[in-house]
């Protein structure tokens, strides 16, 4: 390592396509077409045509086997120099933010000057695999050396019971529970009420609608496939209207409904990060600085005491300690609304002196936050949640908020499947 100091990392530009509810506007799109369009939009906005960037990093959670080199393929169609390297990463819903951290770290270390972090997901073009036994039989057929072995493999391959496809499931492999069931459990542990969840969901819609109305997203969201804004947004929804929906995961005493959870969504996002010198040489204003990050994971088995989506609760205090900051030292909080319940559980945990003492090993509770600073431009309930694309949406939104404010600090918290959480701080 020949760099003596760690450099500041600038968020210079960002672009996303409007997010679309599953099987609606982007039903015929693929991860590749959506991300390629998004990268092209960013390339055009930031005049990157033909430029060799340090790297492009991103991923998709729901991915076809043929898209094994997804990001590189998209880069080759993006208008960037084909000499721009790229690689795929996945960390469930944390993919987009983790990709941002990877690019930022290389810039900070002086290994690269500029890079793009991106993410894309679709649940309208999900990979449908062949039955595990058929796949095994086909592999055996491919590897068979003798006619007998070949015939045996072929017979197994043709077995009618093996012809059923294997559908992707929104299920934690270790618990067999869906994410919503996990969130429902955690909500019950923390005593989160249905009313609070619906209120948060309504605020998400109202805030996002207001942001669109004020033109906030004009330079962050490009038109795509006949959409100019997220079609998940319901500007006229209210907590009262949301209260009429039936719980989904626990019919009798559950609190999570289709209205206070993020919907299955298709979309893509990308963020351009660069060193200060690069931004200056290009004459591009810095939106915000990407200053800290922390990723955590929890043991979410039933016997353990942590909720599946509660890892950010651990990541944030560790990050705050490193940054020498308190939970209240922020002008904006971007807490990903996988479910309204998750946001409220997270805040409740930080307010609990017992939890903070016993589980986070803190002397005191982290305390409360000013709720008027939370998700001020809406979050995943209103905008939708194309898994890997959410990180880029959040980073871009917060960077723009800080740019508009002129100075300040924002906190990002994103929970992810597998009991993981990715968090970061943006400053200006």
């Amino acid at each position: 390592m020949n760099q003596q100091t760690v450099r500041r990392v600038a968020i210079v530009s960002a672009n996303r396509i409007p997010f679309a509810r599953s099987n609606t506007a982007y039903a015929r799109q693929s991860n590749q077409t959506m991300l390629t369009a998004t990268l092209r939009g960013l390339v055009e906005k930031a005049n990157l045509q033909g430029d060799r960037l340090g790297e492009v990093v991103g991923g998709a959670v729901m991915k076809h086997a043929r898209d094994w080199n997804l990001i590189r393929e998209c880069v080759l169609a993006s208008g960037l120099s084909p000499a721009t390297p790229a690689y795929d990463v996945t960390q469930a819903c944390g993919t987009g933010l983790e990709a941002t951290i990877l690019v930022a770290n290389k810039i900070a270390l002086g290994q690269i000057e500029v890079g793009i972090a991106c993410g894309v997901d679709t649940t309208s073009d999900a990979p449908v695999a062949v039955h595990r036994r058929l796949q095994r039989a086909l592999m055996d057929l491919n590897g068979a050396r003798t006619p007998v072995a070949r015939a045996s493999a072929l017979l197994r391959a043709l077995h009618p019971g093996n012809l059923l496809p294997e559908l992707p499931a929104n299920r934690e492999p270790r618990t067999g529970l869906s994410m919503g069931q996990h969130a429902e459990r955690t909500a019950q542990v923390w005593g989160i009420t249905r009313e609070d969840q619906d209120a948060l969901a309504a605020a998400s819609h109202q805030n996002l609608a207001a942001a669109y109305a004020s033109g906030f997203f004009d330079d962050l969201v490009m038109p795509f496939g006949r959409l100019t804004r997220d079609n998940t947004l319901r500007p006229d929804t209210t907590a009262g209207r949301l209260a009429s929906l039936r719980p989904v995961f626990d019919r009798r005493q559950g609190t999570i409904t289709a209205g206070n959870a993020s919907p299955l969504t298709d979309g893509a996002s990308a963020v351009l990060l660069a060193s200060e010198a690069w931004a200056q040489a290009r004459g591009m204003p810095v939106m915000a600085w990407f200053t800290h990050s922390e990723t955590a994971a929890v043991d979410f088995r039933e016997e353990a005491r942590d909720g599946l989506l509660m890892a950010p609760v651990y990541a944030v205090p560790r990050m705050l300690q490193r940054a020498g900051l308190g939970l209240q030292d922020f002008d904006f909080y971007e807490i990903h609304e996988a479910f309204a319940a998750v946001v409220l559980c997270t805040l409740a945990a930080w307010q609990s002196p017992r939890f903070c003492r016993d589980r986070l090993a803190l002397a005191d509770a982290l305390g409360t936050i000013d709720r008027t600073r939370l998700n001020v431009c809406g979050s995943s309930i209103a905008a939708g949640h194309p898994f890997a694309a959410t990180g880029g949406r959040v980073v871009a939104t917060l960077a723009k908020l800080l740019q508009q404010r002129g100075r300040g600090r924002g906190l990002i918290s994103i929970c992810a499947a597998g009991g993981q959480g990715v968090t970061a701080i943006l400053e200006r």
Partner: protein, 458 residues
């Protein structure tokens, strides 16, 4: 769209039937793959001659030899690939007999996909009206000859040569005697020395002729524009590919294929010239070749044509080109130099419709004819800056646009030319590439058709 007739006429199993039915029997035309080579005419047998008193032949012979031709000493019984005749000495009616004596015995034996090039003096530079008439008459001869040999895939073209510009014949001869002028047939163009050669020019390269140059191609997403971008890149140019947002997929595909830079813009947007100028200055500094290929049709007979269709066609095909050129040719006080450098090349895509007119295309044909007038008027002022400007007028080219035509007009469009078939986008790209090359410095203010000598407007 596949030209089935071309296929059947050349398939031994169906050729007889096509002949029996009396259908046209187009031949597969010769084309060259890849970029320019040092000796494009290698192995070609040439018969060269001239009328007494001509000034071009002494220059032509070494130029052809350098391009790789073999000279036929004895024309009898041989089958030449190329016939070149220096007619600059023809000044009277009786001089025409030299033309007859040269061509009469060999024309029947001209090889399939052969080439005929006649070199004439500039009519207006002749000493007398009679001599001017004699020079001009050669155009009728060449065009008629082209119609006679077209069935064999062969073509004939006329080069009007200014006295003293013989050294500028080299690249034109390579083009018009070679396989790349496939669909340029029955044309005449003028070669003059009105554009000064770039100072202290190094020995001119014959391969990779656009290495180190920057080319801007509008409408590059597909068809002729994409073929042109590809062809210019093959010669070493860095290509800026421009097209509208609606064709972004095709545009980026072209750019990726040619290693060029995509630029998405609507050229009729008043903000585009300024944005493009900023982009060009940031990415490439200056530009050497501009190909105004973007164009649209909105066909309706005049009485039924909606006003916005009239306006759109005028804006894209005419107004936008003027705005882009104004930007490229402006000499800002700050930098003192224009984006289009000395030695630059401007190519405008005109159309056969602009020459012949077309029912339902009053708007389109007006713009395409306007470009003919534009290059003629711009030639002299730009010559002083070392820039050439020409128009290329395609006839029936096999593109998505022509594939969408109804069967009968499409078949007529294909067959009603000397070569009996449609051209390929690459054929147009070849002509553009030739005109964009440094060796085409003697050609400016011309409108050249690439139409297989279409009967329309001829």
């Amino acid at each position: 769209m596949t030209d089935h007739l071309l296929h059947w006429a050349n398939d031994p199993r169906t050729a007889r039937l096509i002949r029996l039915l009396g259908l046209p029997q187009p031949v597969h035309l010769a084309r060259a793959a890849g970029g320019y080579v040092e000796q494009p005419l290698a192995g070609r047998q040439v018969l060269a001659g001239g009328s007494p008193g001509g000034f071009a032949l002494p220059a032509i012979l070494p130029q052809l030899a350098q391009a790789g031709t073999t000279f036929l000493a004895d024309p009898d019984g041989s089958s030449p690939d190329i016939l070149v005749f220096d007619a600059t000495g023809i000044t009277t009616a009786t001089d025409y007999r030299h033309l007859y004596d040269f061509f009469h015995p060999v024309v029947p034996r001209l090889a399939t996909c052969g080439r005929v090039v006649v070199v004439a003096g500039l009519p207006e530079a002749q000493g007398s009206p009679v001599a001017a008439a004699a020079a001009r008459g050669l155009e009728g001869f060449t065009r008629s000859l082209a119609k006679e040999i077209g069935k064999r895939g062969a073509n004939a073209n006329l080069l009007y040569l200014q006295h003293g510009a013989q050294h500028l014949l080299d690249e034109p001869l390579r083009f018009f005697c070679g396989p790349r002028c496939t669909f340029v047939d029955g044309q005449s163009l003028r070669i003059t020395d009105q554009v000064p050669a770039p100072g202290a020019a190094p020995a001119q390269a014959h391969v990779q002729v656009l290495r180190g140059k920057v080319a801007l191609v509008t409408g590059a997403a597909r068809g002729i524009g994409a073929a042109t971008a590809h062809r210019l890149a093959e010669e070493g140019a860095q290509v800026i590919c421009l097209d509208v947002p609606a064709d972004r997929d095709g545009l980026y595909e072209t750019a990726a294929r040619v290693g060029g830079l995509p630029f998405t813009a609507d050229i009729t947007d008043p903000a585009t010239p300024h944005q493009l100028a900023g982009f060009l200055r940031q990415k490439v500094g200056t530009v050497d070749v501009v190909v105004h290929n973007a164009g649209i049709t909105r066909d309706k007979t005049l009485g039924r044509m909606a006003p916005h269709h009239w306006d759109q066609v005028l804006a894209v095909n005419f107004g936008a080109i003027m705005a882009l050129d104004a930007m490229l040719l402006a000499e800002p006080v700050a930098t003192g130099s224009a984006l289009l450098r000395a030695g630059g090349r401007i190519l405008c895509l005109s159309s056969m419709g602009g020459i012949a007119g077309n029912r339902g295309q009053t708007n389109y044909a007006a713009t395409k004819a306007a470009l003919i007038g534009y290059v003629a008027a711009q030639a002299a002022p730009l010559a002083r800056r070392g820039i050439t400007i020409n128009a290329v007028a395609p006839g029936f080219i096999e593109t998505r646009m022509t594939a969408a035509m109804p069967l009968v007009p499409r078949e007529l469009g294909r067959r009603l030319c000397s070569l009996g078939q449609g051209g390929q986008p690459r054929d147009v790209a070849e002509l553009i590439t030739f005109l964009a090359s440094p060796g085409a410095i003697g050609v400016t203010g011309n409108t050249i058709r690439v139409c297989g000598q279409s009967l329309l407007g001829a």
